[in-house]
Amino acid sequence: MGNFLLVTIQVDLYDRLALNLEADLVQMVSKTNARGVLIDISAVSIVDSFMGRIIGNIASMSKIMDAETVVVGMQPAVAITLIELGLPLKGVHTALNVERGMDLLKSMIGTTEEEPEEEDDDYLTE
C-alpha cells in the first residue's frame, strides 16, 4: 500500500458531493494506511465557507487518523477571495503545486522508511 492518497477535484462540488468526498477520504485513509493526503484543487474556481469547512474537516479528520493533508493548486483568485471572505484555512497545509505538495508531505511524515514511497493514485472525479 502506498503512503499517500492523491485526490484531484475536477468539478465545482455541490454540498452532497463535498460531504461524500469527506467521508470517502477518511475511509480511504484507514483502508490504505495512507500517511498523507494530497488534495489538488487547481480545477476548483469557487471555495466558499462551506467548501472551506470541508477542506478543514478533511485535514483535521486525517490528522486524528495519523495522516497529514496538503491542499495544492489553489487559484490566485480563490486565495484572494478566501482572505477577504475571512476564511484563511488555518491549520490546513498548502503548497503551490502537486510536486511541492508531495515534498511537503514527505518532509512532514519524515521519510525514514528505506525504500521510496509508492504513490497510490486515487482520482475522484464526478
Binding site: I46, S49, F50
Partner: protein, 137 residues
Amino acid sequence: MIISLSKDNVQVVKEQDVVLLRNRVKEVAIKIKMGLVNQTKLITAASELLRNMLRYGGGGFCLIEIVSKGRDNGVRLTFTDKGPGIPDLSLAMKDGYSTGRSLGLGLPGAKRLVNEFDLKSKVGEGTTVMILKWANG
C-alpha cells in the same frame, strides 16, 4: 442612477441549483467583461447567500441583473426568500455568529466581497439580500 439592462429570475430550491446558478452568474459576469478576481468574489458571495437562502429560507428566487451606472457595468443579484426572517440584523452581520452550525461568515463575508450590499428582513415574512459588483469595482 442605476439602470437595469437585463433581468433573469431563477428559482432555487435544492443544493444542485447552487452550482447551476453560479454558472449563470459567471456567464453574465463574463458578458460585461468582469475580471477573474471580481468574478470569483461575486460568485463566492452569491454562493454564501444561496446557501443561507436554502438553509434558513427554505429556498427562494435569485434575480440576476446586468446594471449600468454611467460608464460602469455591474452585476446585481437579489435573493428573496419567504423564510422565517432574521430577528436581529446587526447580530446576523457579525463575523462568527451563526444560528446554524456554519462558520458564521456567510453574510458579513459576502458583504466584504461586493461593492454594494443591502439586507432587508421581516420576521415571519422573509428576507431579501441585494449584492452588486461593478465590473471594475
